[in-house]
Amino acid sequence: MRPFHVDLGIARAATLEAPSHDGPASWTEFRPTPMTATGETMPAILEANGLTKRYVLGRRMTEALRGVTMSVAAGEFVALMGPSGSGKSTLLQLLGGLDQPTSGSVVFEGRDISHMSDAQATKLRRERTGFVFQAFNLIPLLSVRENIALPFTIAGQNPSRGELKDRVRQVIELVELTGKEDHRPDQLSTGEQQRVAVARALVTRPSVLLADEPTGNLDYTTGGELLQALWRSCDEAGQTVVLVTHDARAAAYADRVLVIGDGRITDEIVLGRRVDHSAAPLISRLAQIGL
């Protein structure tokens, strides 16, 4: 069950079939949302209800979000798309508990996180969420391994032995950085640096991975590699991913795309889980709604 849909979303999603030039093969992969074995949709892990966020910048009041209601199901890959200044990053920050909304609520795993204390929010970030940002995710003076293990170190655990050590090794394998564990960030390419960031976000096995323009600084190929890594974590390990991007090619990896404009969700485009991440259907769909 989906608690909320932008009105036209389903109807428009249906029209996706029309302009397809990818051939029917891709449509066999079409799954509107992840489903349980019994065919029911997974329960929502993250919900936003009537979120607004106002900033005071100098003497001007900026309204970044003007009432957003949405939800993300467990195991789902959701992309938040929109032009710059649309409020998509603000929404992601609120969803991850980095900031507090002016009004409305964020319910994460059944708990309202929109008015938590700093200590509670810190614990949440440490244990339940993982973040990847556009750039400068890494601590320059720490090695790849140390950077990835940082969440454990912060939590006061020793990541160099036992299960944690295995987990660090596993995520390094997942992002295909085996052999570069002792490199410093400045010895890596930008793409590799971002993959380290993904590995770090995944190492704690968070409920949700939140990524803010993770490919913004990457070229076509390395960007694709990173998205592939995100997608694999979702598809193979059931990782819930919320991705903010303005790039249709990146958004095409998602199961579902929420289009944000001027602080509101203006459209929902359901792509379904696809092995092939062709952006063409999404692009044509976006063209239809005038984006």
Partner: protein, 833 residues
Amino acid sequence: MGLNRLAWRMLAARPLRTLLTMVGIGLGVGVLAASLTLGAALDRSVDRTVSDIVGRADLRVSAFLESGLSDAALETVRSTEGVATTAATLEHRTFLSTATGDPQAAVTVLGVDPATYPALHDLTVVSGTGFAASDVQVALISQELARHDGYAVGSQLSILGAGGEQQLRVVGILAGSGGVSGSDRVALVPISVARQAFALAGASRIDIQVAAGVDPATVSARLAQRMAEPYVLSSPADIAAGLRASSASFQGTAALIAAIVLFVGAFLIVNTLSMTVGERAREVGLLRMAGSTRGQVMRFVFAGALVLGVVGSAFGVILGTAFAYALAHTVSAATGVTAIVTGIDPQSALMAGAVGLGITILGAIEPALRAARITPFEALRARFDLPSVRRSRLGWIAAVFVLVGAMALVAWPPAIAGSGAERALAVYAVLLVATLLTPFFLRPLARLLGLPVALLLRLEERLARGSLARDRSRTTLTLGSLVVGLAMVVALGWSAQAARASANAWLQDVIPGDEVVSSIRPIGPDEGVRDALRQLPGVARVTPIGTFDLAYRGYRVDAAAVVGADFLADGRLHAVTGDRDAALRGLDAGGTVIVPAAVAARLGLHVGDTMRVALAAANHVDLRVSAIVERSIPATSGEAVLVSWADATQSLGVAGADAFAVRFTPDATAADRANLDATATQYALEANPVERIQGAVADALARVFGLFDVLAIIAVIVAALGIVNTLTMGVLERIRELGVLRAIGMSRGQAFRMVVVEAAVLGIVGAVLGSVVGLVVGAVMLVLGGGFAPVVGVPWLPIEIAVVLGLGLPILASIYPSRMAARVSIVEALQFE
């Protein structure tokens, strides 16, 4: 001008850093200004004292005996070849006996020759007239006496003379204290009047002006040949040198510390301006893109430096005057020369201000050059990472250091030129080398000393250590200034300890006893006091010591009558030349003298020389120098020459002992000691354990060194200001990193602790390096200072103080930047520029 306004805005954008830098410069300039102001005050005081004492005289012959110089002696002086003008003075202290006068307060009556005295001394008459004739019963009195006792011109002054009251008429009032040192209640009368009033002949002293082209030293030598009776010869230069000697080492050390504080301040300036340039690199790039020349960019860095320098120096001059004012009393007590600070001393203020400004400009050179190297492309970069930041600025540290040293040499107090300058330079050089070596020690030391912290705060320690390695030049500058400040604390502490140990060792070496029982009157050998003390239980030996002085070739020499056999048996004294045992054994027979090395050097005496001691009535006694010892019994103005009791009582007029050194048996009990004290009290004697005498010496030393400690701690405070700057800069630079760390679960507390740990690691490394460097500096000071054996034990207390300061101040300094780190807003930190 537009660019200057930009410079101003750059400073205003970081008010805390700008303020800290200004305070840092201010403290440096303040210490220098205080040091110069106090030095000037001391010099003024010495000059005034000298001119009060001898006026325009080239030499002064004073009476050695209380009876004064005889008429024959005065005649000998006058007839000596090369003597042009003489002015004999008869000084006598007496009381006034009038209804108006204060019968309790003594007056100094100065009998002068009205004809010759004004030739050598200024008599500034503020009202009335000078002397008219030489035999009239008139007096000139000091303004102080007139004011206090209510005299005016024409008043009758009644003084107590030998034959009763003497009536004098006040004919003039002299300015101030009347130009006589030591008293401000002075009455000048014709010398004939004074002689008649007090029934005295001759004079107390005679001032000499030598003929043109004659060397006063030649005249001194002739006088030594011709004078039959004992006398003391002094010259203005001698007196000034004597007065200055006590203040010179103070001035030298104060100037050295000032140079060090300024140097630490220079660190602060280089750091601040470098940070500003680093932060503003993109703006600078834009300026360059818009067509600014390199020269304009440099000018605007210098404009910023000028603002810092001018405001900081002005603040420093005011602060320095306040320091000087506050310390004047302590300095006077420590040096024995009265330093009066009334306000800003223009010359000192100008000098200190110019040095402060100069150092600020020097400190700006490197950041300005770096700013000029910024290319217009820098403006286009998404994020600015100064590549040149990673390059070492060590060369510039050395350059600034050398220049500060050169400026210090120029500004070196001229009055003490030469004295201690090489010591200050050596210390300075050691500090430079230490600072340059700091970066090589930083990494391993931080790792090693961070281990205990790492056990508790693993993450914080790891991140803090990395942060310190981020900009090594900046860390070097910051750590270097801390090391230098702490090193001075340790070095000065060690010097104080060494001085104390040396004074203690001296007393141990020369005093043949555990206690010194002293008397205010001479105790004759027939009074049985010595025997009474010796028979007390637990007393092994009692030896009498009689202190007096003797006249030798125009010098007043401290002397002591001792029992050589007792010194021999007790194992006291070390001979530098001559046979100690033979000299002490032979001393008691009479005819010989044992001379301490310092006195031998001053008087030019060697073993085997004969010391002809002048006695009253043109007599003399010859004493052969039998040994020169390292140190001898302390006396009023140095160390005493040692003579036998036989010579002392038979020829030199010593009536008895004024002290007994008491040596206890090894098994003496506390009760025995108490018993001795009680017996001493019965004989109206005072028993002082040697430790108490040592304590008194230590107190005097503590006063001087306490002053230096204050100055050295200012250097540490300036270093702490630098730490605030550096840590704050570190937080600002890492704001994005902090945002990421917070986003992945770092708590506010962890962010706070990370910066505190950074400060603590800096502090621990600083304390360890500071202590080591301090020991080296201390050793240099002790060896070059001379007289002290460098092996005086490890100065644990100063090291403990350095560790406490080294840890405490940086942690205190980290509070502001730590809070800043803890309050970083994740959302703002992560905003993409």
